[in-house]
């Protein structure tokens, strides 16, 4: 694992949160050319 990022999201249900996090990973948090990512949600 190269990097672990903890984020707190307010007021989002699991599905919305996952969609937002995937967008954040694809556009900023990870570079898909050199990195892959996994998302784990805690309610």
């Amino acid at each position: 694992v190269g990097r672990v990022i903890d984020l707190e999201l307010e007021g989002a249900d699991g599905e919305t949160a996952r969609a937002e996090l995937e967008r954040a990973c694809d556009q900023l948090l990870a570079n898909p050319l050199i990195e892959s990512y996994e998302i784990a949600l805690d309610a």
Partner: protein, 234 residues
Amino acid sequence: MSDPRPRIAVVTFPGSNDDRDAVLALERLGADAHAVWYAEHDLPSDTAAVVLPGGFSYGDYLRCGAIARFAPVMQAVARFAQHGGLVLGICNGFQVLCEAGLLPGAFRPNASLEFVCRDVELRLQRSDTPFTTRAEPGQALTIPIKHGEGCYFADDELLAGLERDGQVVLRYDRNPNGSVGSIAGVCNEHGNVFGMMPHPEHAVDPLVGSGSTDGALILGSLVDSARARLLTAA
């Protein structure tokens, strides 16, 4: 009548540190160089070329260039590039262009895991780009590098495409950082966007550094090309 001085915009991001050297070098080589703040939404009128300079934009947090690509001015730079405008990214500027998707590939930490700061020998692959017309194909250039994350990466398929389409413009003679294909500089498929890890703006004055002025071949080519576009537009 003297040759017109083409306007070249040099972007300053928070953390850029080679912007003023780039402005000085371009001015000396005949450009009307303008420093442009990252928060601008537009490039100066009559901009004939854009340079994204070296440095550590946004502290290089997350990945080099990953945050700078969201700077307001980058939308204007992307529009400029998409309309065929000349864009040169140097070191951190190269990393920003890759993160912005304006150039192919990505960067990883140097294979040595150490920052490297020294002159390197480069081999020019093409002189028919707007950034290399003053040099000859196969010509050896001595230009300094200074980076910790200069290990250019493209997967096998992308690399094969870059080689096939002649997008590799500069290679290291002796690979200093583990870059695939010893790549030091690549252009986009249209040839109007070019990124290179070595710093041509640090190799224009014989009294500075090792005395090489080979950087002037790159920046001078850019000034020539920008001027030609100015005259064509007029």
